[in-house]
């Protein structure tokens, strides 16, 4: 090209970042990589390798080890051996290592960025300006959390050996999101990068060695899904953290059900991008660029559904098309491209087939007039209009540079459309009206809501999903809890369940006054604020601790569960202010105290008299405790390094199923439901099986305490049956399980259906203020939504 010609045309030319240093590094390793276990490189046990390819050229970069069972086992054993030393090092010691890692990432920032773009296909601008700086920031931030662990998380300790499986869209950044908090909290890790993009993880292993990280603290095993499965199935892994597709997440949820292992899942999305008629439309257009043409749209939180006010749609569409015409697709290492290469042919085919389906279904497709490079895996930016919510492209996560545009009439309809998805990862809201923005943000079912911005991330802010986008948060203080457990949990033996001898045929022990028989009491189900008969028409006998029948309770079935869930959804409780909720809880305590004698007498059938009195007293106190917390479990504002307010809003989980404990029939029940109610959840409680009458007695208290209908629903009956219907109900958002039997496996397996968050709360001493109450309950009763609000006029 001659200068004189370019002077006339003012075209863009190639502006390549050199790949030479990355190639030198690959060559130095002979373009073949083993696994990194126990601080050293090892050949894979089975001797199997696969190719990793540069998606920008479709050429081989290197051979990567396919780790097999022996490799994974060696890695887990190395991590186990390293665990005690790493934990004992203490927060400050670990902080020094994390700080060193952060520094090393910065020192090698460009090398990592180039390697990332080579392996993944993302534009060098993104790896250089976004991915790698965020990686360094994540390690810095978590060096701080390591330092502060003893101060900020007293009573918690490391979970143990963590298995981590990460995706290919942000290879090193996802590694950082996984490894930094895990190490900070004293865990050791076995991490598997995605098979398409292993290289930066392997380079990271070298950095760990360079900073002298104790061997075995970080182990990197490469391979495809088979290797991932080996990690998930390994019996000595204490926690699994996974980022990837919802389908695989569901398999992992099912596979780990009942294993007692912690699990965090960050899954797919179909995030709405809502444009109101008073938005700055030119900025909206750039927002769309950042939302769906960032990383080729291969972003779990990509704003892939534009919802625009009907009267604004035409203008926005025109502006978008004009902007798309100016986007540049090409060599990921070129410093002047907007969109790089799709990671692999299989992904390219998936995008292509969904786009064709979109056209077949009648939507209008628009692509720029220019064409993509022939070599490598490229797909042009694509905009669909005239899209119906029922279309596949409006429902399915495409994971490519493809966006659909739909219209709404009112802001209520915008919220409905936005929430009309199984996913709930992120949302973007564009309006210049702060009233509207702050009205809409809390109504969106999404873990992250960006106002007038999109795809903003920071280590100080938790990221994670609602609904089938997974559970758990990464980043911020909220993310740390994925990598710790209460210290008491390993020390405390499960309290023994009250010894119940089985059914003994005997006459009722209760006696009425004088010679008269007692007035028969009918314990019904409590649904929607009413005492209702069970659908089945059956009852179950309740026995005292000597096995004598003392009462009957209703035998609930799936229809009762269904009705209870419906009632819970219809309740006015979540709309009450925190102050009002506190008042109701105090009132519950007041009315419980009024019935103290009666409840002590009732409890006397199941526990010793002194214990019964103590239980009632503590139940009253516990209601006071959560009444007090109702307006004090406050949200945070994260200190993110932008001119933005990052609100970590604590929101109720929604409709919570609570399977109540058998021990401490009253205190256990109250301790389980009160935190959920205090924070605005509505509850479907399945009463303890041994002494459900305390739960049914409680509804009398509820009835007199201004608790709105549907806030608390109580079902009695055969636990396993009821739990299966509740855990398998797709309109239940969370489920807590307190009994210590083998029901947990069923709960976690069935919960995989809608990815409801489960808390297998485990055995605990209910009278103990740490085990029986407190922050752990409050945390599980809330979901954190981070709302990013930029400011500045």
């Amino acid at each position: 090209m001659k200068v004189a010609d370019i002077f006339e045309s003012l075209d863009y030319g190639p502006a390549p970042e050199s790949a030479a240093p990355a190639n030198e590094w690959l060559d130095a390793h002979g373009r073949r990589f083993g696994v990194y276990v126990d601080g050293e490189w090892r050949d894979p046990e089975a001797g199997e390798y696969f190719e990793t390819v540069n998606p920008g050229t479709a050429r081989r970069l290197a051979d990567i080890a396919q780790a097999s069972a022996g490799d994974v086992d060696a890695a887990v054993r190395a991590a186990r051996r390293a665990l005690e030393g790493w934990t004992d090092l203490g927060g400050h010691g670990r902080a020094r290592y994390l700080y060193a890692i952060a520094r090393h990432i910065q020192k090698h920032a460009r090398a990592l960025a180039v390697l990332e773009s080579l392996d993944n296909g993302k534009p060098i601008r993104e790896s250089r300006d976004i991915d790698i700086p965020l990686v360094a920031r994540h390690f810095y931030h978590h060096a701080g959390w390591a330092q502060l662990m003893e101060t900020e998380l007293p009573g918690y300790e490391a979970v143990g050996v963590v298995g981590q499986i990460i995706p290919w869209n942000f290879p090193l950044l996802m590694l950082a999101w996984k490894i930094a908090p895990a190490l900070a909290m004293g865990n050791t890790v076995v991490l598997k990068p995605a098979e398409f993009t292993s290289l930066t993880a392997l380079r990271f292993a070298e950095l760990c060695a360079d900073v002298g990280l104790p061997k075995g603290v970080v182990n990197i095993v490469t391979g495809d899904g088979r290797t991932g499965e080996l990690i998930v199935q390994h019996p000595d892994v204490d926690k699994i953290a996974f980022t990837g597709s919802t389908d695989v997440g569901r398999i992992i949820r099912t596979a780990t059900a009942g294993s007692g292992r912690k699990l965090s899942l960050e899954l797919g999305g179909k995030s709405p991008f809502i444009v109101f008629d008073d938005a700055d439309l030119d900025s909206v257009v750039e927002g769309v660029v950042d939302a769906i043409w960032f990383n080729q749209g291969q972003v779990c939180c990509a704003g892939s559904r534009i919802l625009v006010h009907e009267g604004t749609a035409e203008r926005l569409t025109a502006k978008l098309r004009e902007r798309m015409e100016r986007l540049r697709v090409g060599d990921p290492l070129d410093k002047a491209v907007d969109i790089g290469a799709i990671v692999a042919p299989v992904q390219l085919e998936r995008i292509d087939s969904l786009v064709r389906q979109g056209v077949d279904e009648g939507a209008t497709m628009w692509q720029p007039s220019w064409s993509c490079p022939q070599e490598g895996y490229f797909f042009p930016p694509t905009l669909f209009t005239d899209v119906a919510p029922a279309a596949a492209i409006a429902q399915v996560e495409i994971f490519g540079p493809v966006v659909v545009l739909m219209t709404f009439r009112t802001h209520a309809e915008a919220v409905d459309l936005a929430n009309n998805t199984r996913y709930g990862l992120a949302a973007s809201v564009w309006t210049e009206n702060i009233n509207l923005a702050l009205d809409v943000a809390p109504k969106l079912k999404a873990g992250t809501v960006w106002i007038n911005s999109t795809n903003v991330f920071d280590a100080a802010s938790g990221f994670g999903g609602y609904r089938e986008s997974g559970f758990g948060r990464e980043g911020g203080k909220e993310g740390l809890y994925e990598y710790v457990k209460p210290s008491w949990q390993k020390r405390t033996k499960p309290p023994k369940a009250a010894g119940h001898t089985r059914v003994e045929r005997a006459t009722r022990v209760e006696r009425g006054a004088g010679a008269l028989p007692p007035i028969d009491r009918t314990a019904r189900l409590y649904i929607g604020g009413r005492q209702v008969r069970p659908d089945s028409g059956y009852s179950v006998a309740v026995h005292d601790r000597k096995g004598r029948p003392i009462a009957d309770v209703a035998r609930g079935n799936r229809k009762d569960v269904r009705n209870a869930v419906e009632a819970a959804h219809g309740s006015a409780w979540p709309k009450q202010t925190a102050h009002n909720r506190a008042q109701v809880l105090y009132y519950l305590a007041e009315n419980l105290a009024v019935r103290a004698d009666e409840l002590v007498a009732r409890l006397g059938h199941f526990v010793d008299g002194a214990d019964a009195e103590r239980e009632v007293r503590l139940a009253v106190e516990r209601l006071f405790f959560y009444a007090a917390y109702a307006d004090k479990w406050e949200s945070r504002v994260h200190a993110t390094p932008f001119r933005m307010i990052t609100l970590a809003m604590r929101e109720p989980v929604g409709v919570l199923g609570i399977v109540c404990p058998d021990e401490a029939p009253l205190l256990g029940f109250v301790s389980a439901i009160a935190p959920a109610l205090a924070l605005g959840n509505t509850v479907v409680a399945i009463a303890g099986e041994h002494a459900p009458v305390l739960a049914t007695d409680f509804y009398q208290v509820a009835d007199t305490s201004d608790l709105p209908p549907g806030a608390l629903n109580i079902i009695t009956g055969a636990r396993a049956e009821l739990v299966s219907h509740l855990a398998g109900h797709d309109d239940v958002e969370g489920l807590w399980y307190f009994p210590h039997d083998d029901g947990a496996a069923m709960v976690e397996r069935l919960a995989a259906g809608n990815m409801k968050r489960t808390w297998i709360a485990g055995p605990r001493a209910w009278s103990d203020p740490v085990q029986g109450a407190g922050e752990e309950f409050l945390r599980h009763a809330t979901e954190i939504k981070n709302i990013w609000v930029p400011y500045g006029e």
Partner: protein, 332 residues
């Protein structure tokens, strides 16, 4: 490798028969509807220089183009006819001949777009540039504050036009913008435009004194409706000079005005543009926001006094591979 050449420029502006912006009746609704989200604008502006890059021959060619987009400017109290004559000589031969030859650009029309001076220096500049085709631009209307009596400001324009200035850079009453007196602003610019006659009018908004980007956008729209040929950021005398976010907002308004009226308006960032790299960023902004046709002197100017020196050094570096020194290039 990169095949992003547009088959048809979507906002194609023909070079031929480009009409002056005749202005448009004041539409207050258009002004009131304007929304500018500062944070989002800044975010976009921050990536203009990172999403695009021109290297090697492309960089050299773009920098040569930058020279031709320059209003070579001197606006100092100590300007004299002699200095202005030297400046005009530099405008006509801005790049060393041997550098141009090495670039294969000997036959390209490399000269600055205009020379920009105060009224007193218009006549010597016109004389010095006679036959070169380079127009003289005069800053006017009580530059830089624009607060002298209105009749005198009109008179100043006429005097400069009479003296041979073909372009007039006027300043607006910032107070009109700050108080939302859009009719007053419209009438003022309209009167300036009439006084200019055939001379092109560049309307300086003094963006550093307008408080908000929304004010910048609204003032841009009113100035265009009042008939501005160019809208221009700054006088170079305000505390805050031309900034990319401000420029981005003004470009978006130019696009908006064109969508609404079909009329095409030029853009001139001025003040603080000293480095070749900055010049490239502004050009990238124009190309990506408005299209390549805006990278012509008819629609885009840099107001700059020291930018040329840096471009000269960069061009020589491109030719020799060695970093250049200022003294190797003739000064004005």
């Amino acid at each position: 490798m990169i095949t992003t050449q547009a088959k048809a420029a979507p906002t194609g502006v023909g070079h031929v028969g480009l009409q002056r912006n005749p202005g448009f009746p004041l539409e207050l609704d258009w002004v009131r509807e304007i929304r500018v989200n500062r944070s989002a604008v800044e975010r976009r502006a921050a990536t203009i220089g990172t999403r695009r890059s021109v290297k090697k021959e492309w960089q050299a060619a773009w920098l040569l183009r930058a020279v031709t987009l320059m209003d070579l400017t001197t606006l100092s109290g100590d300007d004299t006819p002699g200095y202005v004559r030297r400046l005009c000589a530099k405008a006509m031969r801005p790049i060393r001949q041997d550098v141009l030859e090495a670039l294969g650009a000997r036959d390209l029309p490399i000269r600055t777009a205009a020379v920009c001076v105060y009224h007193q220096l218009v006549a010597p500049a016109v004389a010095a540039l006679r036959g070169s085709g380079i127009p003289v631009a005069a800053v006017s209307t009580g530059f830089p504050a624009g607060l002298s009596p209105f009749p005198q400001r009109i008179e100043e324009i006429r005097a400069s036009v009479d003296a041979g200035a073909e372009e007039i850079d006027v300043v607006v009453t910032r107070g009109h913008v700050l108080t939302g007196a859009w009719e007053a602003l419209y009438d003022e610019v309209r009167a300036f435009r009439e006084a200019c006659g055939a001379a092109h009018i560049k309307v300086i908004l003094g963006t550093g004194e307008l408080g908000t980007l929304r004010n910048v956008a609204r003032a841009s729209m009113v100035a265009m409706m009042a008939g501005a040929d160019f809208i221009k950021t700054s006088t170079g005398k305000e505390a805050v000079n031309a900034m990319l976010p401000t420029g981005l907002v003004m470009c978006r308004m130019i696009r908006e005005y064109r969508e609404r009226t079909g009329h095409i308006v030029g853009f001139k960032p001025a003040g603080g543009i000293r480095a070749a790299k900055q010049a490239l960023e502004w050009m990238l902004l124009m190309k990506d926001e408005l299209g390549t046709p805006w990278l012509t002197p008819r629609l885009f100017r840099f107001g700059a006094s020291s930018l040329l020196g840096d471009i000269e050094r960069q061009l020589e570096h491109h030719v020799t591979g060695r970093y250049s020194a200022g003294y190797r290039h003739p000064i004005a």
